[in-house]
Symmetry: D3
Amino acid sequence: MIRTDGRKVNQLRDVKIETDYLIHPEGSVLITVGQTKVICNATIEDRVPPFLRGQGKGWITAEYSMLPRATESRTQRESSKGKVTGRTMEIQRLIGRALRSVVDLEVIGEKTIWIDCDVIQADGGTRTASITGAFVALTIALGKLYDRKQLSHFPVREYLAATSVGILEDGGVVLDLNYEEDSAAAVDMNIVQTSGGEYVELQGTGEEATFSKKQLLELLDFGDIGIKQLMDVQHAALGELATKIGEGGPETV
Amino acid sequence: MIRTDGRKVNQLRDVKIETDYLIHPEGSVLITVGQTKVICNATIEDRVPPFLRGQGKGWITAEYSMLPRATESRTQRESSKGKVTGRTMEIQRLIGRALRSVVDLEVIGEKTIWIDCDVIQADGGTRTASITGAFVALTIALGKLYDRKQLSHFPVREYLAATSVGILEDGGVVLDLNYEEDSAAAVDMNIVQTSGGEYVELQGTGEEATFSKKQLLELLDFGDIGIKQLMDVQHAALGELATKIGEGGPETV
Amino acid sequence: MIRTDGRKVNQLRDVKIETDYLIHPEGSVLITVGQTKVICNATIEDRVPPFLRGQGKGWITAEYSMLPRATESRTQRESSKGKVTGRTMEIQRLIGRALRSVVDLEVIGEKTIWIDCDVIQADGGTRTASITGAFVALTIALGKLYDRKQLSHFPVREYLAATSVGILEDGGVVLDLNYEEDSAAAVDMNIVQTSGGEYVELQGTGEEATFSKKQLLELLDFGDIGIKQLMDVQHAALGELATKIGEGGPETV
Amino acid sequence: MIRTDGRKVNQLRDVKIETDYLIHPEGSVLITVGQTKVICNATIEDRVPPFLRGQGKGWITAEYSMLPRATESRTQRESSKGKVTGRTMEIQRLIGRALRSVVDLEVIGEKTIWIDCDVIQADGGTRTASITGAFVALTIALGKLYDRKQLSHFPVREYLAATSVGILEDGGVVLDLNYEEDSAAAVDMNIVQTSGGEYVELQGTGEEATFSKKQLLELLDFGDIGIKQLMDVQHAALGELATKIGEGGPETV
Amino acid sequence: MIRTDGRKVNQLRDVKIETDYLIHPEGSVLITVGQTKVICNATIEDRVPPFLRGQGKGWITAEYSMLPRATESRTQRESSKGKVTGRTMEIQRLIGRALRSVVDLEVIGEKTIWIDCDVIQADGGTRTASITGAFVALTIALGKLYDRKQLSHFPVREYLAATSVGILEDGGVVLDLNYEEDSAAAVDMNIVQTSGGEYVELQGTGEEATFSKKQLLELLDFGDIGIKQLMDVQHAALGELATKIGEGGPETV
Amino acid sequence: MIRTDGRKVNQLRDVKIETDYLIHPEGSVLITVGQTKVICNATIEDRVPPFLRGQGKGWITAEYSMLPRATESRTQRESSKGKVTGRTMEIQRLIGRALRSVVDLEVIGEKTIWIDCDVIQADGGTRTASITGAFVALTIALGKLYDRKQLSHFPVREYLAATSVGILEDGGVVLDLNYEEDSAAAVDMNIVQTSGGEYVELQGTGEEATFSKKQLLELLDFGDIGIKQLMDVQHAALGELATKIGEGGPETV
């Protein structure tokens, strides 16, 4: 099977991660996955949300948005509507939860890392691109804290990346769906995985359809292929910082 | 391993489904799973949302809420806060999507079935209890349309039920987590499955933790056990209506 | 005159009050008045609103809501609309004010008692059923504080109950209107009364109609009959706690 | 007993009604009751709310607001808070309901009369002053429709006025409470009455207090005195229009 | 050229400023400019917004609103809409900024002066009338602080007034546009000026039109004429307080 | 005087306009002015707002936003706050008004052109950069309508650009203030001008300061210099389209 954009079924789109994209954020990345482009910025704030105060532990939280014309037809701004949609909330909760799973929050201390993922162009896979790019922005921001001797050891334990896999209407399993494929897919699954091969999130959804255990295993195999390649791109983008990931320290749990 | 409430690791809590719970709704169910109690009501409305108008196809949508004292300490009402939380939005999107996957929406015609899941007492697993109860309320409401000859055939293709599985901090896999277990779990997975054994939704989340493919397969096996028992309770609750599910008709796709 | 449901003009509907209805709240009651069913929960919070801080005095406040399908046709949730209606606000202000009139707030100390009245089925008289049920839930919650020796004496001075009376379109005066009667009534009056026979609230409204002083007195006589019977049901539901009401103590004003 | 402002217990404050106060509204009145000043404007709109469409019947609705410095200390604007308080909603529902009770809505046809009551200075009794002033503004606006031959007969059946009565802490009954008295009163009652002496609304509230049937009758007697005087002022303000009230016509029900 | 209301091109409408208009505010003014009427109230609050705390400096902020029937057809209340329009926000930011430019905020100390401008009747020029009236209300309120010896010297450095100028469709330059002229004007400019002849704000807008540097200078000349006359009215309204303006003191910058 | 970034007082920062920046919008531009970067997208919608329906005339409207980390410290998203700030509203009203002044709206017909200006990096002058970039995005979008023969002639009459000028604390007049200068400036003026040298908007504001007529003229002279250079960059970015501007046609007014 050849896909509409000429890719093989288990082939990722071209991925690029450009670091230091903006001048103000502590970590700033532009990630490009095919035609999907997301600016991922990390901000360090010297306090934690109320439910964590006094515990000596940090927090990572994310916000996600799209420019109105990131999409083919214009989408109304959530600020004009006066509220954030359910889809946006799901995505930003997912990004935050995923990133927190590979970071020692105790090492960060009472700080919040804000992750802002702003999609400037959308062609499918914006949430998985956001996670993949946000991991790099977060690591860069934590690198700055580390260089300033504000951390006892580097708190990122493993790489983290995300991709989508799906089952097309004809039953074919594919990796990294673009918007056209995603709209027509019977099953759509987002996979967030660590460099150790473990899952952090697995969200499979039949869109008025269902999938069997056998299909699930095929989907996961394709996911493994994609995640590995994404981590290679992250590794290259991080440069020297890459060596710090997982080096742990005396306090590592 | 014996659990804090004395259950075996692969044992569901007691499940009861009481039908015709309230007098006004077209379908009304009180589902009790251990100490968790959810009122699930189905309402038939004679129109569809704007994006479906003129397509001759129906829609199923869900809303979910908790009484302020469904929980151990009082939770502020979303109506007082003036907005619905991200958690609520995720859950109501999940319930609607799951139910739509086992119903022929074309057969319903331009009608919306509203599903209201109101948790009056919470002890873990409120979203999966909601789906399991809502399936029964929905089937009863569709049964009324069918009896009034408003449907060419019965549009429910298969049973649908949901449960949770998880990995406790000690690494043990368990079925149907109560609130205490859920709060302490390292991994939490919600499974929505059909009577054909296929998955509709699979949402596995590591809470500052991860899980391997091997653990995933154990989780799914436990899920199979729970889902089967839940469907037995649904079957009993539906009485004669149970025979209509999956009988299809000439228009079945 | 025989009413549509066969009652006499001065006859209440069947009233039941089930205590300890839910497990989490400090006081929890299900009150049933005919087909109207309201869950009334009382929560004790260890602080008071800003305007009372530092005065050593407690507060009682109420929230009221209906399930979307408590009513014959589905009502949109206030959380989805993002705001609370004027009707809801009127009712919750009324419930709080009424309960505060029979409780020594000084004895409670700097605590707030939250009263949540959630109507799960509506057939007229939901606000008066809420007050009658809430009185019992509140008394039970205060009983727990008292048993824990946190109160110098029992702070509930008198019983409190509420009912509705009205004038039908044909001019007939009736007690305890159901929804059908309420919709057609020319005059509708809510009466909140104490066991001493005094009024706490009297809200009479002509719906595009008016009423004379003579009719007012007839309405009040019917109210007396209903209130007395409601207090008998409250008394029975409270069991041993009933003996504490009005026993006062050295600090009683 | 002499009151703090020197009035007798059954004495109204000075009342003035200035008509044609603003140039744009169809009816515009400034009512002054002691230090309380309310601008009441009536606007005619050529349509009715959705629930009345196609019934050939009109509607009267009211909005109420206070300037931030109508009060002794500044009150935050409801537009800045982004929501209307429960107190405001109660008052505007009351004003609309009261005015509708003395007008033949069928005669008006499919029009809405908007009543805007804006309190520019508050010293107690703003809701009753609003009703008394709004009645005049409404009558003037309807007079314009009548002069343009848009009404088959004059639709105002009776005069309508409102005042407050109350029981002070020492047990004394008083008419027309100013802000100082209102703040300290044990019982507060708003009375809306027609020129026929019938009640439209009766809202008596014990503020952490109660009242007996005997006290109720005393309160109502004081109300009769005040209402009569207010209607004399309304009569004078309306000039020639006063003769139209209650003249009815062939279609009168 | 004679204007529709008979004025000469460089002639202001009749201006009146009535002081002590309401009893509660520290400064209260009714300003009338032709048919435009605005109540301007000044409130002194003993704290500053968070961004100024601890700097020993005061703040002046403004809110602006219109009664629904200040305008020819009824405008929906911003409190009902639940949000303030962009136009309102622009105007209230302008009023606050303008007033702050002529007051020594350091002399006021950590206090906020709230300015409320409520338009009760609108016929063009409501924002400039608001500034002109608010200056007087503010000065009166500061006079009270000064009389209570709470200010080291009188903090108002200069008079401040505002007017509008514009270019009509026929190219004619006019002073102080009424609503009819404003609606039809090609260019509209608001000028806020001090008694020293300096500009505080200059906001010129071509409404689907443009203007040249030469026209700009003509507009400014007309503005000078209007501002001077407005300051004469302010001077008269302030009475003895007028002598305090600009008297400065040892700390004057 | 040499400025902190080494520029001369009448020197613009480096300006770049990159066209076809994103793939979906009808017109898409990235404008860079020094460190300020704004994405300007134009969307064509086939309808007009309600107030224009049936007049055969088009409309241009703008929305403006900043990424949270466009600024040195993170700014909360307006979608999270649930409302748009006054500053944002002022800016988007300004952008829309300015663009409408150089376009024949009748030629466009009943279409709305939405302009989205999203600041991805801010260093002062974001609103003027937005106008300058938006003019190019708008012209490109209109060029597409023109190429599809949907316009009788090209509706852009003149170039439009915007810049800021200001007076620093030391009294020096400067062109194109960066963020550091803007924060410290005594007077700040935004100038929107056409290629014919006429003004569309002139917004001069003393920040707790004032300016004289003489200073105003100096500011305008500096503005002329900046605007001219900005139009040269717009001209180059538009390529062949540049020749269409102002060519008009038989219907030109």
